[in-house]
């Protein structure tokens, strides 16, 4: 690892040899396409789709184009740093384009070309994969995008969010950054990825994190405290909703969802209880979406006469 800073940094990006350059290239690409480049949401969440820039912005008629990296936490996927492909913390690159542009597939393929995936060298395919999130009251149709048989992106046209029809429909692209980088860099273990062009590997950055967090997720986390946190998040969500601040309520739904995932990893939720907990999280998320939509309904309807909430 080269810890020396460069005296005269050059700005040449090399997505084929650096994880961070790949991310920065995607930022360049989607920024140039007209997207707002956001930073990650500062909460623990299971997927980029939870980001308010995706869920809440998928509601209503206003155009919205954004791209961001979202760290994702999947406690049950932790493998103590011993599995080359599975992590309890990893990154997704999210692009949300609303309304979905007619050349969205072409744009996406250009972004792959920008990070060095040549479609005449590699077999790129759009394979049916529909998406449904009962927790968010959401579903969409789309594909998983294959690169030589590997799923590198989830591509979804949102049809419903929070129980409401998406009007207009948003297109969501979710790149699995680590696996895409492993592919482009030609390495077999995520920990061998070059994080930058100066000798820092993904393992240097995250291996110890995976070990400790896997241990905490599976063995250490105080389950009584987690149950308590779940109940508190649920209550706070209701409190926020009763005061008509749905964004704050939605944050509590995100929190409850993650606490639930942690409880799952700790193995203290039975199969029977599982459905009930998921139902409670869904009610929080849907309630937040509903209040958010209702709060904005009048303004949206005024600005977009052809639009209606239902």
């Amino acid at each position: 690892m080269d810890t020396q800073l460069q005296a005269t940094p050059t700005l040449a990006r090399d997505p084929a040899r650096s994880f961070q350059d790949m991310i920065l290239t995607l930022h360049d690409f989607w920024a140039a396409a007209g997207c707002v480049i956001l930073q990650p949401y500062d909460m623990r969440m299971g997927a980029g789709t939870f980001h308010t820039a995706t869920t809440l912005r998928a509601l209503g008629p206003e155009p919205w184009n954004a791209a961001f990296v979202q760290p994702c936490r999947r406690p049950t996927d932790g493998r103590y740093g011993e599995n080359p492909n599975r992590l309890q913390h990893y990154y997704q690159y999210q692009v949300i384009l609303k309304p979905s542009p007619s050349d969205i597939q072409e744009l996406y393929l250009k972004s792959l070309a920008a990070i060095g995936v040549d479609p005449l060298k590699h077999d790129i395919r759009f394979v049916e994969d529909d998406w449904e999130s009962p927790t968010l009251g959401a579903w969409g149709l789309g594909w998983e995008v294959w690169c030589d048989g590997m799923e590198v992106t989830q591509f979804t046209y949102f049809q419903q969010m929070g129980g409401f029809d998406c009007k207009p429909v948003a297109g969501e692209l979710t790149y699995g950054l680590e696996r895409l980088a492993m592919y482009i860099q030609g390495v077999d273990s995520v920990y061998d990825l070059a994080f930058n062009q100066h000798g820092v590997s993904y393992g240097d950055v995250f291996l110890e994190n995976e070990r400790q967090m896997s241990k905490w997720n599976f063995e250490v986390a105080d389950t009584d405290a987690l149950f308590d946190l779940f109940v508190k998040a649920e209550a706070e969500c209701q409190n926020a909703l009763s005061h008509n601040v749905p964004i704050a309520a939605y944050e509590q739904a995100i929190e409850a969802s993650h606490i639930f995932n942690l409880l799952q990893a700790r193995g203290v939720i039975s199969v029977q209880e599982r459905a009930s907990y998921m139902g409670r999280v869904r009610d929080l998320a849907r309630g937040s979406c509903e209040t958010y939509a209702k709060l904005n309904e009048e303004k949206w309807a005024k600005d977009y006469p052809e639009w209606s909430l239902v």
Binding site: P99, L120, D148, M150, P168, V271
Partner: protein, 743 residues
Amino acid sequence: MADFLLELRSEEIPARMQKGARAELEKLLRREMDAAGVSVSDLTVWSTPRRLALIAGGLPLETDAVHDEAKGPPVGAPDQAVDGFCRKNGVSRDQLEVREVKGRETYFAVIERPGQAVADLLAAAIPVIIRDFSWPKSMRWGDASISSESTKWVRPLSGIIALLDGEVVPCVTDGLASGRDTMGHRFHSTGPITIAGADDYAETLRAASVLVDHEERAGIIREGARKAAKAVGLTVVEDEGLVVENAGLTEWPVPLLGRFEDDFLDVPPETIQLTARVNQKYFVCEQRAPDGTTSLANAFICTANIAADDPAVVVDGNRKVLAARLADARFFWELDQKKTLAEHAKGLERITFHEKLGTVADKVDRVAKLARWLCEEGIVKGDPDLAEQAARLCKADLVTEMVGEFPELQGLMGGYYAAKEGLPVEVSNAIRDHYKPVGQGDDVPTAPVTVAVSLADKLDTLASFFVIDEKPTGSKDPFALRRAVIAVLRQIEDTDLRVRWSALFEIATEKTYQPYLAYLLTSIGPGADGLEVYRWPEFPDQDEEYGVTADVVFAFRSDAKFVSDAIARANVDLAVFLIDRLKVQQREAGVRHYLIDAVFALGGEDDLVRLLARVKALQSFIETDNGKNLLAGYKRAANILKKEEWTASDQGDASLNYVPENAEQALIDALAAAAPKAASAVTEERFEDAMAALATLRAPIDAFFEDVTVNDSDPAKREARLNLLARFTKAVGNVADFSRIEG
């Protein structure tokens, strides 16, 4: 005459939907053209992931003028009828003529349709076809989707080509106008491709690296996979479903063979094949050893959608993905073996079988007891201990990682794990095969221990759902109970199990008493003072001792009654269900339902093996000349008895006070010989012999009706002869109820 080309281009259509979409496109085009009076004969429909295409050959450019008359309802008929008639004939109500038909004022529609340009008709039809097109799942997209009413398609629709005789048929759907431009292969072609007409459509696309004919692509994949395997001395494991799926995923298919590490072959071959097929859509290959046995080879065949610059790069990428999948499979395989099946089985306590009937562990307990009982009673000639052991482990693999990942491997994996654990081979085989027979063509278990477990499992499933009144209705059979009962029937029949099915159902339903009652009682919740709600089964008389409130006692008693009633009802329903399915099953096997009725009508028959042997003997007999004539004689005799309302007081007494006619004596003698023979043959289940005994009555009964007058003026003769006929029908009727037989 002209050819019509329609191409509906979209983003990638799921492979599994393409076949249905082709049929739908053809159906809708025919519907619209029929309605417009254009006859369509020669029609070709193609699909690729990115387009549906249709070519209708030999269309007229203009339809014939039509003069037609249709007779409608009489004047004064309900409005609904008149409106329906107008709609059907495309006329308005005030265009109807009234004519007199047989004295009634009757509406007539006179239809005058001038010839119309087929191009106009097509232009009107295309938006309708798009609007009415039915996809398994469809979606909205783009700017138009700000309204819920925007066009729906399987994925965004991006282009329409509509050419009649090479001319664009102009139409617009949601802002998308028809034209003659399309796109070629996503990567091997750039920019729009212009199509001149239906004739050159396929070839123009071929030049742009798109093979529009799905059959052609399937052929390339099928043959290419075979060749690729052959080239390295292997044989591809044929999988037509995979051929079609890959043809639906590619416009320019290129089958490529790759290898994976030999080490992975340690895991069961079924898991490798399944992960390759389901997750990656790869074919797998087999190798033949010098001794002629075949085994899975370390090779896969993927189907690329490009002629890659360097195919090795594509293959290598796919190899890595497969390796990761196989590593997962091996991880599961090894992880699962760290626990014994018995330990895994504990996990079943956490899985609900049905909320009213407890967990899967509860079900397993019932199945184990039932399997043991089947062996102990000698119904199945298996070892009771082994049967119970196998039954207790048969569902354990449901909580293994491997089956969690690949539910299709249930049973099979349990069998592997049991064998690895060193359990008796009868046990591992029973675990592996207890779901059989899965479909019509599937084998029925024959190994006794497997038979016991398999039968017990299905009986419990049937009993469970019938007790809680979750019976199949109409087309709904969510718990696959029809399949289960057919499996039971086939099992009993194929392995000659001598048992009354009512006894099987009684034993199986009885075992649901406890869990069902427990459910009903816990659904009341604990008493107000926090007392235990119930003690089963010794509870009812011990209210005092357990200090339970009167409410709860009452609830218990009514629930206990409810459950025993439900069980009694289930037994009746199950018998009806089984007989109903039996008739369907036998009808498919070519047995007339009335033959089954003829045996059932004797009453009390619930031994399937005996029933079917009897039906089979009856069927063969009825098809012979003797059988047909005897049946005719029987019916004639029965009719006479019915007409005379004859209830013989003493059918057994054959002594006569007059000299019988020859034919009469012959029948008396024949009956005296045949009746006991038939009766003992029936008792000993020699049904062919019983039929043979009956066959000896054919000539005498024919001669009797020929020569003897039954309704003789002498009351004594009349009585004796009617009694004789009654004895005859009784003897015949002991073998089967011939009155039920048609013909």
